[in-house]
């Protein structure tokens, strides 16, 4: 799977339109991922996103803290993607440190990259309907897939 010149151009243009909302969208995509694919929450026990906990401390600091952490993490993911967009010609080199992190420390099962990628697409579709044409949808899906491949490339 290779990103064509058109794909790169589509992704750059779309990401450019997103601008300063990237962090917000990263957080929303994470929230959607946790909601639709609850098994993904297992990677964030320290966020304490469990439904029970939220109910017990309905409007408490704990929930606020968990949400703040999720939002901060969403920003982190978005920033990494912004870096990836700027270096689409050589993702393996640009993302080498993150590849190492995911392979040796985080070890997130590869299936989860598909869930997050899908929720990133859904988030962008919601917020930027004009940009989310079929061709751009395809380019974004390829781009997220390429990033996911790089992040899992050193797993074994």
């Amino acid at each position: 799977m290779v990103l064509s010149a058109a794909d790169k151009s589509n992704v750059k243009a779309c990401w450019g339109k997103i601008g300063s909302h990237a962090g917000e969208y990263g957080a929303e995509a994470l929230e959607r991922t946790f909601c639709s694919f609850p098994t993904t929450k297992t990677y964030f026990p320290h966020f304490d996103l469990s439904h029970g906990s939220a109910q017990v401390k309905a409007h408490g600091q704990k929930v606020a803290d968990a949400l703040t952490q999720a939002v901060a993490h969403g920003q982190k993911v978005a920033d990494a993607l912004t870096q990836a967009v700027a270096h689409m010609d050589d993702l393996p080199t640009a993302m080498s440190a993150l590849s190492d992190l995911h392979a040796y420390k985080l070890r997130v099962d590869p299936v989860n990259f598909k869930f997050l990628s899908h929720c990133l697409l859904v988030t962008l579709a919601c917020h930027h309907p004009a940009e989310f044409t079929p061709a751009v949808h395809a380019s974004l899906d390829k781009f997220f897939s390429a990033v996911s491949t790089v992040l899992t490339s050193k797993y074994r």
């Binding site: 909601c35 899908h118 919601c126 079929p134």
Partner: protein
């Protein structure tokens, strides 16, 4: 609790009531063929699929998309027995059409993207989660009779 909670059924039916099934069907099938071009293997007789524009405006794609989504819509009326509702179609897709069930999962996710595209903020995380359950259920029901 059946397949979906009462609240999830409410969310799904609430949104589905506002969907133009014919149009969304064509859009979803078109995007499937654009985003995952290998799915075009099932539609060799559909004519011009050479570009995103050609695919999205192809009348056979629109007609077939309409057919598929109307069938999905009928299935939603039997949400607590999707396997029963889609038993015959499952046999057809295995024995006659020879469609790898992975394609049902791909189409389901494309449909979710199309709904997000149409409904924007109304397609919030809770609504999405309910629909993810539905498309997964339909995909599994369509794969159920495979052998």
């Amino acid at each position: 609790m059946g397949f979906l909670s009462a609240e999830e059924k409410g969310l799904v039916n609430g949104l589905w009531g506002k969907v133009n099934v014919d149009e969304v069907g064509g859009e979803a099938l078109g995007r499937l063929l654009v985003v995952y071009p290998w799915t075009q293997r099932f539609f060799q007789s559909f004519g011009d699929l050479s570009s995103a524009d050609a695919i999205m405006s192809n009348s056979k794609v629109k007609a077939h998309g309409k057919k598929v989504l109307n069938s999905f819509s009928d299935g939603l009326k039997n949400i607590d027995d999707l396997k029963g509702a889609f038993a015959k179609l499952s046999e057809l897709h295995c024995d006659k059409l020879h469609v790898d069930p992975e394609n049902f999962r791909l189409l389901g996710n494309v449909l979710v993207c199309v709904l997000a595209h149409h409904f924007g903020h109304d397609f919030n995380p809770q609504v999405q989660a309910a629909f993810q359950k539905v498309v997964a259920g339909v995909a599994n029901a369509l794969a159920h009779k495979y052998h």
